[in-house]
Each structure stands twice: as structure tokens, then as C-alpha cells.
């Protein structure tokens, strides 16, 4: 599974690994949905340190996850974004919506 989660007192950390393209996106999205539903976290840290590639499919995953967290009034931040992914997210102006650290 390309998503590894850690949960501590309604703080959820999800580490996404490998190539997040259209082929992988649905599985990652469904797993994130499941984890968020189960944990109802106050905040989510999305760790992209193990991401080796992404494209616009990753943009959709981030936006959708951000909205899911908004629906349950939780916060979200994205950490350890590799340069290739950062360039993709920047092209979409994602840093205006989502907190990258």
C-alpha cells in the first residue's frame, strides 16, 4: 500500500510513497478517505518525503483531501515535498490554498 498512516490523539500523519499518477491516485485517495473517516483527525500531516513522481493527478488528490479535512473542520499541512512535486503544485497555484512546510 502506498499510504502509511500514524495516528496519535486525533493527529493523523499519512506518508504517501512511490509514484502518484492517474494509475495510483484512486487507491491513494480511497485510503486517505478511509483513514480520515476512521480517525476524524483535528489535523492531518501529509508527508510526501517518499514521493518519487507526481502530476496533475496528485493535485486532485491534495485538493480533495484538503476539502475532506475542511468538512470535518480539521487542518492540513503538507511536509517534505520533493522538488518535482513542488514544481507541479506550484504550476497549479496550490500553495495559495494549502500549507506547505
Amino acid at each position: 500500500m502506498p499510504v502509511k498512516c500514524k495516528e496519535e490523539q486525533r493527529h493523523l500523519t499519512a506518508r504517501v510513497e512511490g509514484e502518484l499518477d492517474h494509475h495510483q491516485a484512486r487507491e491513494v485517495m480511497e485510503e486517505l478517505d478511509r483513514r480520515i473517516d476512521a480517525a476524524q483527525p483535528r489535523d492531518l500531516t501529509l508527508d510526501l518525503g517518499g514521493l518519487t513522481f507526481t502530476d496533475s493527478s496528485g493535485i486532485a488528490v491534495l485538493i480533495r483531501t484538503y476539502r475532506r479535512m475542511g468538512q470535518i473542520r480539521g487542518a492540513m499541512r503538507v511536509v517534505n515535498t520533493p522538488p518535482q512535486a513542488q514544481k507541479v503544485f506550484q504550476a497549479a497555484g496550490l500553495e495559495r490554498l494549502i500549507r506547505f512546510e
Partner: protein
């Protein structure tokens, strides 16, 4: 412009071929001795074009996708991604950032990314006949080679 080397790949519109296509493009580009950033830009643009052919061109069946990789004079890498699918009625509208006919799994940023990661992008499409995306990127000549 003189073509100095070229390769053509054909594959069915299966999503597993997205990673194959961008890896093949990266391998082909290697003969131009690109930087890591240049390779990643090319891979990202190829991923967008091929994913579009897989997701949008053949919504309910498998179809043929072709990718032509060319090296032209002046260290220019040209990539042509072609499908024989449903086509695009209004290409200008399709190229607008955030425009999508896809589900919420799509963000409408594919063409915008191809445009910003490559030097040129041409889209030719005929509804019912298919789409051809042609993009090019000059790979800088580096000192010391």
C-alpha cells in the same frame, strides 16, 4: 528541421502504461545529457499528455496511443502523443487552466502543466477522429561535455 534520432512507441490505453511512457521518454532524452530537473519536466509533461489519451480519448474502451520521441537539431527534444479517440471540440477552452470534463479525480491542469514545463505545445484535434499533442523542449548544452 533535421531529425537526428527518433523512436515510436505504441501501446493500448491502459493506465499502467503511463509510467512506462514517461520512463521511456526519460531514457530517450538521456542522450541529450539533461539535468535532473530537465528530465523531470519532460516526464511530467509526457505523463499529462499520455494520461489525457488514456482518460479522455477512450472513455469506455481501450484504444491505441502512439508516442513519437525525436531529437532535432539544436538539442531539441520533440514529443508527439497521438490518439484516435473522441477528440476535443474546443481546443482553446480545453487548454484553459481548471477546465475539465473529467470527474473530481481530475484538476483541469494537464495542458497548463505541459505548457509551463515545455517550451512549445501544439494541440490538434478533430471530434470523432482523435487528438495529436506536439511538444518540444530545448535541452541546454552543459559546459564540460
Amino acid at each position: 528541421m533535421k531529425v537526428e534520432n527518433q523512436v515510436t512507441l505504441e501501446f493500448p490505453s491502459r493506465s499502467a502504461n503511463e509510467s512506462f511512457a514517461r520512463t521511456a521518454a526519460a531514457c530517450f532524452a538521456a542522450q541529450l545529457d539533461p539535468t535532473l530537473e530537465e528530465v523531470n519536466d519532460v516526464k511530467t509533461a509526457v505523463s499529462e499528455a499520455v494520461t489525457n489519451a488514456i482518460v479522455h480519448a477512450y472513455p469506455e474502451k481501450l484504444g491505441k496511443v502512439a508516442m513519437k520521441l525525436r531529437i532535432k537539431q539544436d538539442h531539441i527534444l520533440e514529443i508527439v502523443v497521438k490518439d484516435w479517440g473522441v477528440g476535443i471540440a474546443d481546443v482553446d477552452q480545453a487548454r484553459t487552466p481548471l477546465f475539465t470534463t473529467g470527474s473530481e479525480e481530475r484538476s483541469g491542469m494537464g495542458f497548463t502543466i505541459m505548457e509551463s514545463f515545455m517550451d512549445t505545445l501544439k494541440v490538434r484535434s478533430t471530434p470523432g477522429k482523435g487528438t495529436t499533442v506536439t511538444m518540444a523542449r530545448k535541452i541546454a548544452r552543459r559546459a564540460g561535455r
